[in-house]
Amino acid sequence: MSARGWVGAAVVTALVALALAGDRAAGYRFDAQDTAHALEAPSRAHWLGCDALGRDLLARLCEGGRVSLVVAVGATGLALLLGLSYGALSGWVGGRLDAVLMRGVDVVYALPDVLVTVLLIEILSAALSGLPDLWRRLAALALALGFSGFVGVARLVRALVLQAREEVWVEAARATGAPAARILVRQVLPNVAAPLFVSAAFRIPAAILSESTLSFIGLGIQPPFSSWGTLANDGFEAMRSFPHLIIFPCVAILCALLGFHLLGEGLRERLEARPSR
């Protein structure tokens, strides 16, 4: 993998480590209020400063990173799962089913994805009301973003499956009467795996982007929990007086996305350079 790819991998690893550590990495709890230090600029006691309730910004960022990553990975996982099933089914079976399923894809593409995501979030939040607040929000976001994003994966998988179906060894396997499932898993899946992996590496930052944008306008993660988007929104309201509140979340988002993009590019170069067998 290229040097850039390794840089990306390093950034992503650091991110995951920070996310696993959460606010322990900062030494403060993310919800510990300290009104005496409210809105303080970066200092020795609080490396990135404090927010309006005196909560340490570094702790909030680490915790926020955890939240953002969980949502992004969940959404991507769901999108991959759904897209894989949908696309494989459509591509493998073909014919009328394929036509219907692809018409469905057309319809989804014609829907504004923001609107659908917001709708799904509202519906799911109400439906999942039994769960504690944070989990409910995380689940609703991940599910909504996953559902909104699976069609792209479906298209990709379908194209790959179609391509694989034409390959000689697959035809041979079908001719010998092997069950479809085995063919799919043994012969087709390896072809699909690499591009899917690359796709995942690019979907995760896209999900982080979507989630932080939604949280920025107040529809994503709800307080007192935070994601990078909510932190950026808090910062935006006070960006003239307390720029540190917006600068650090934005830098965090930038770094995370950059890391994933670099990693994705590195993976793509590596995996797609191989012959398609």
């Binding site: 692809m102 018409r103 057309d106 319809v107 593409y109 014609a110 829907l111 504004p112 994805d113 923001v114 609107l115 659908v116 917001v118 709708l119 799904l120 509202e122 519906i123 109400a126 179609l162 930052p205 982007l209 932080s212 944008t213 920025f216 306008i217 529809l219 950026a232 935006f236 960006m239 003239r240 720029p243 917006i246 934005c250 988002i253 930038l254 996305l257 950059l258 993009h261 670099l262």
Partner: protein
Amino acid sequence: MTRYALGRILAGIPVLWLVATVTFLLLRFLPGGPFDKERVLPPEIMRNLAHRYRLEGTLGEQYVDYLERLARGDLGPSYKYVGRDVADILRDSVPVSLELGAAAFALTVVGGIGLGLAAGARRDSRVDRAISLGSLVGVSAPSFVVGAGGILLFGLALRWLPAGLWEGPLYAVLPACTLAALPTAYATQLTRAQVAAVMDQDYVRTARALGVRESRVRRRHVLRNALLAVMTYFGPLLAILLTGSFVVERIFAVPGMGRFFVTAVTNRDYPLVLGVTLVYAALVVVANLAVDLLYAWLDPRIRVGRGEP
């Protein structure tokens, strides 16, 4: 060609109908009615409101009523904006979004292709590395980051550009640039990759070896193929510009339709949600058609017969 175009237009209509139906159904599962206020209303008033806004009857009855009015071009009254029809609301706001979107689109195409060409043609030079890095940062920056930066730098520090509103051409600069930032970066990457790939292809090298002039080589082969590849991005680009506008319009107070994607849902303004979705779907269908036609025109190889989409 004409038959192809007509066929595609007709194929778009069932899509629109499906879109309307799906959105209609999704909306009915939303919690909360559209008339909750800080002060609770006496029940007789609630009844009056249900009648006025046609919230009575079963789901099926409401759906049929909705389709009937749609066929007449009546998108119904808005729930939140008393006395205004959805059609009026959209008539005011859609042109603004289209203007903003067109400006951002132009920036993306010109900027993306231009930068991509510059980078791809001079691979591994300093120019290429700078542009590649810039485009990498560009696809990693959410629009609110770019917007906040733009306001702070060009609005406050330099006082060059107004931080919001839509009073003249100058007011469009910051919002359009913010909206176009990520797509331009992505288009740059696409173009650069395509240019690099094409430059590597045998026939370009052959042409060069045969002594055909550098500039003609670039123009004819590289540009056209790069363009074709980037055009596959135009469909999603329109979608991104239209839906991405909701954050930009909010930050810069631009009176477009982007904000309705969000506010209509959270306000449970059902007719407006349906109206906005339909307009968006129609634009997507038209845009895809335009791209397909453009593609067919530019690349004669795919004009005849349509196989798999």
